[in-house]
């Protein structure tokens, strides 16, 4: 699952919001973290990540600020805003509903 189009529309936003919910992160770290947590299954390409970050910033869910990274260079760190936090809750709720619905469907006994 390397192409962003394989991600269900809107899922990337959820992943990003969830990832930076704990602490502010820069883009590279966000991509890495998603990759690690998903046990290398989800690979977020930069081509999808940065436009997504930009969109989230434009919508006021996240706020970007320049800071010193762990490698000692300047990087843009993204923080979840208050509005972003409630948006994350909303999207999580939505995701849980959706995924459990999908599970219900695919686990339904097959009639022959």
């Amino acid at each position: 699952m390397s192409k962003p189009s394989d991600l269900i529309q809107g899922t990337l936003d959820l992943l990003i919001l969830k990832t930076i919910a704990l602490e502010p992160m820069h883009g590279w770290a966000i991509a890495k973290r998603i990759q690690q947590l998903s046990k290398e299954v989800l690979q977020v390409t930069q081509g999808a990540l940065y436009p997504a970050l930009h969109r989230l910033e434009q919508q006021g869910w996240v706020r970007g600020a320049w800071g010193e990274s762990e490698s000692g260079r300047e990087a843009k760190f993204y923080t979840l805003t208050k509005a972003g936090r409630s948006q994350l809750d909303k999207e999580l709720e939505q995701w849980r509903r959706l995924s459990s619905a999908v599970v219900l469907v695919i686990n339904a006994p097959q009639e022959v």
Binding site: Y50, Q58, A75, K76, T81
Partner: protein, 892 residues
């Protein structure tokens, strides 16, 4: 929390727009950081530095694509594109300035005219009246089979006030000017009204100081109190702070000032002895109810009321009609009347409502024509730019992007036109207001202001989209291949485009014809009015009003002898041809109307009564005004109070009440049980004068001799017919009046021809505007025809050359070109005249003596349109004859 987010969003949008450079740099830096980290990771995984960097970049994909996508995420792309489009549009327009100037100017003219007229409509028809909750104020009139709108009887008023359940306050007022003396200078005539208690509560205005009249002041003997206007207080009393309680002398009687109204209390307008809405009123005195409460026959007060919240004027009218029925069963004089109730707003603007809407419609049509014209010119340009558009499409410009590009151009044109139009509107409104006829309601409420500009801007944008969309969509449908092909060959635009342009021209011609027909019939109506025999001779006549104060002129004898002496003195002045005195002037609105007299030997038809306008006049009054004697004689010095009573009547009265008989010698009386001396004998019949030039016909009317007036007519108009230069007699008139009684004011000195002329100012105003609009429309249509024909000729020069080579004469070519222009026009004329016939009903009520379906006008307009089309096609036809066969042959 919500606001916090929107603040963030706004901040980001602003940043993306205003600090674009910085945002781009930061994005670049952010992406570079990412690549560096990836490179480091790759090195850690064992690659060498070069491999690592290349791998990282590869993984990253196209940087420029990401940058572009991020930019899209900022959602400001459309704005940036718009700026780009507008810049391009400015470049394209400045390349063909003549084209731009023509479109912008025609749009500016029509948008400016629309805004100016809209300002007038806004001020007159849309703005509420300056009274609190003005929509609850209604005017109350009587109505009968003979009279659509008639004043109220004062005793009836008391019954209505006591019994109605619909009005919070019901009041009445009647025009009764007073003479103020003893305030220092010469006596002055004040415009004054007698009002019932509660009048100002109906209007919703409070005195600035003091109080309104109470019921006790309506009783005879208690009425010597007055409320003054702010203007009189300042001009006549030097804004004295101790004005309340002061005694002032009105009509030689002492009055106590009990109230002072604030500045800007607008008079609601009245119709009997009319003073227009918003005109100056200087003083108000209480109406006192003296006399016999059973006298229900005289009508001269005007009802006005403030409806209770939630009560419609129709409900109130039903309530009043119920009371009217009760009254009619109790009083003979109240029979035959119903109530006509009308909201005050409608009463004030009603007379001009229709005309303004027609004018607004006309100017709207002009704008529509300007739009069609602009669309037409844009289409022509789009055709010429087909190659450019095809290239852009071939290079990958999307359809939406092309449409937007074309729309940007038309919007730019429209906005330029709108801006210029707004400037024109500011000037235009001043011009319009200065042209407004006297007596036009609410002129001081007309201003160009923010709302009007907002509407102008909206109109401009809508206009831009309207005339830009068709050419834009058309152009975007250009097939790149065909476009490039055709463009390369320089041949004509697609057939569809040519057809569309032809349709637009037909539409323009049709709309212009519609306007021309309107202008034409209004012109004919105006000419009819001017040609009308007014029934009197207004030239070289000076008029002035004199009011004799009741205190000094108590009896009819006092009054009659004053006027007799004054007229005798004036008669000896050099340069005076004839001088008379009368209670009315032609075309100044009717005043008195008498119902219920008895004609000897006749009975009125059931449920009706004999009625006529009544006046008094001195013997030479008729000669001074120029009303011709038809039959019998006018009054003479022998008609005194000691001789048998006589009357002069007008033609209409003679024909209506004595049809087929000689009215002279017949008698009427105003008493129920007449003695022999109560009979008035008709001695003469004079010509008719209508209430206004537009009235359908004259009303029956009669005159008493001044010396035999049955009740006192203290206010009279002096009429001086001069051999020449009547204004030179003004001073002599004043000094003669002063010689007789220095306490008298000579008021309203006017020339009769000016009074007559004012009657034509409303139709003249309508004619002026609609004529202007029609001329503009015709000009626009001519530009449209010229544009289409000239374009078509330029496309067909090659073909014409071939024809010449094959033996066609110049005349053949001219005919071909002209035929095209005239054909389009004929179709347009047919449609336009058809529409004119269909909408004729709209104009009918504004016309005098001509139908909106007037065949002469229709034919004239058709001929004019075809003539214009011929002229507009001529230059192109001439150009066609210059087609060079050699050029065409060589091109083959």
């Amino acid at each position: 929390m919500k606001t916090g987010r929107w603040w963030d969003v706004l901040r980001m949008r602003f940043r993306s727009l205003a600090q674009r450079q910085r945002v781009e740099t930061e994005l670049d830096k952010e992406l570079r950081y990412h690549v560096e980290r990836q490179t480091e990771e790759n090195i850690a995984a064992g690659m060498n530095a070069r491999e690592a960097r290349e791998a990282a970049s590869r993984m990253f994909g196209g940087v420029s694509q990401i940058v572009a996508e991020c930019r899209d995420m900022r959602q400001t792309q459309y704005l940036e594109n718009l700026v780009q489009d507008l810049r391009y549009a400015v470049r394209m327009l400045s390349k063909s300035p003549a084209f731009a100037v023509v479109i912008v100017l025609t749009l500016a003219l029509s948008i400016g005219a629309n805004s100016a007229l809209f300002s007038v409509v806004d001020g007159v028809l849309l703005k509420p009246l300056p009274y609190p909750q003005a929509e609850r104020i209604a005017r109350v009139f009587y109505r009968s089979t003979s009279y659509a709108k008639f004043p109220v009887n004062p005793w009836d008023f008391l019954d209505f006030r006591a019994r109605n359940r619909s009005f919070e306050n019901f009041a009445m007022y009647t025009h009764a000017d007073v003479q103020l003396s003893g305030s220092g200078s010469d006596p002055v005539k004040l415009s004054a009204f007698r009002i019932s208690s509660g009048y100002f509560r109906v209007l919703g205005v409070q005195p600035a100081r003091g109080r309104e009249f109470d019921f006790s002041e309506e009783r005879p003997g208690n009425g010597n109190v007055v409320i003054l206007s702010d203007r009189v207080w300042r001009n006549q009393f030097g804004a004295a702070s101790d004005i309340l309680g002061r005694k002032v002398v009105l009509d030689s009687q002492p009055y106590t000032v009990v109230g002072l109204m604030p500045a800007g209390v607008d008079h609601p307008g009245n119709s009997y002895n009319s003073v227009a809405y918003g005109d100056t009123v200087d003083a108000w005195t209480p109406f006192t109810f003296d006399g016999n409460p059973n006298n229900r026959g005289s009508h001269y007060v005007e009802g006005i009321g403030r409806l209770k919240p939630g009560v419609a004027s129709e409900q109130a009218a039903a309530d009043f009609n119920g009371i009217m029925t009760e009254l009619a069963s109790q009083n003979e004089g109240d029979k035959g009347w119903t109530i006509y109730m009308v909201p005050l707003f409608q009463e004030i603007v009603g007379p001009v409502h229709k005309m303004l809407l027609v004018l607004l419609g006309a100017v709207g049509l002009v704008l529509l024509i300007a739009c069609v014209n602009a669309a037409n010119l844009l289409l022509a340009r789009a055709a010429a730019r087909q190659k450019e558009i095809a290239v852009r499409a071939a290079l990958g410009a999307g359809r939406g992007r092309l449409v937007r590009q074309m729309l940007a151009e038309s919007l730019l044109i429209a906005l330029l036109g709108g801006a210029l139009g707004a400037l024109l509107a500011i000037v235009g409104v001043r011009v319009l207001v200065s042209f407004l006829p006297p007596g036009f309601p609410r002129t001081d409420a007309i201003h160009v202001h923010g709302f009007v500009f907002a509407v102008t801007a909206l109109v401009a944008v809508a206009t831009g989209i309207l005339f830009g969309l068709v050419p834009a969509v058309q152009a975007s449908q250009t097939d790149p291949q065909q476009g490039l092909h055709e463009g390369g060959r320089g041949s004509s635009g697609s057939g569809r485009q040519t057809r569309l342009r032809a349709v637009l021209v037909v539409g323009e011609v049709a709309l212009a014809c519609l306007l021309l027909v309107g202008a034409g019939v209004i012109l004919r109506s105006f000419v009819n009015l001017l040609r009308l025999d007014p029934g009197f001779q207004p030239e070289h006549v000076l008029t002035a009003e004199i009011a004799l104060p009741n205190a000094n002129y108590k009896t009819t004898d006092n009054i009659a002898s004053f006027y007799q002496r004054l007229l005798a003195k004036l008669n000896t002045l050099p340069g005076v041809h004839a001088v008379g005195a009368g209670t009315d002037l032609p075309w100044t609105g009717y005043d008195e109307n008498m119902g219920g007299f008895t004609i000897e030997g006749k009975n009125p038809p059931p449920h009706e009564e004999f009625h006529a306008r009544y006046h008094t006049a001195s013997p030479d009054y008729f000669q001074a005004v120029g009303i011709p004697l038809v039959h019998g004689r006018v009054f003479n010095e022998g008609d005194t109070k000691d001789t048998p009573r006589v009357l002069v009547i007008n033609n209409v009265m003679a024909r209506r009440y004595w049809p087929g008989e000689d009215a002279v010698g017949k008698r009427i009386t105003f008493d129920d049980k007449p003695k022999e001396s109560d009979w008035f004998r008709v001695v003469g019949v004079v010509g008719d004068v209508k209430d206004t030039p537009e009235s359908k016909g004259a009303e029956p009317a009669f005159w008493w001799p001044v010396l035999q007036q049955p009740f006192p007519f203290a206010n009279m108009t002096i009429v001086l017919r001069a051999n020449s230069a009547p204004l030179l007699l003004t001073e002599a008139l004043r000094s003669n009046v002063r010689d007789l009684d220095p306490s008298l004011a000579v008021a309203h000195v006017r020339l009769l021809d000016r009074i007559a002329e004012e009657q034509f100012s409303t139709p003249r105003f309508a004619l002026f505007l609609i004529g202007l609009f029609a001329a503009l429309a015709l000009l626009l249509a001519a530009i449209g025809i010229y544009g289409v024909i000239s374009y078509s000729v330029s496309q067909r020069m090659h073909e014409f050359g071939m024809r010449v080579a094959l033996g066609a004469s110049s005349w053949n070519l001219v005919k071909m070109v002209m035929k095209q222009g005239v054909l389009l026009t004929v179709i347009g004329v047919a449609i336009g005249l058809g529409c004119a016939l269909a909408f004729a009903g709209v104009l009918d009520s504004l016309l005098y003596g001509v139908s909106a379906r007037d065949p002469l006008t229709l034919i004239g307009v058709g001929a004019m349109a075809i003539g214009t089309a011929t002229l507009a096609s001529l230059p192109s036809a001439r150009r066609a004859t210059g087609a060079d066969p050699m050029t065409s042959l060589r091109a083959e």
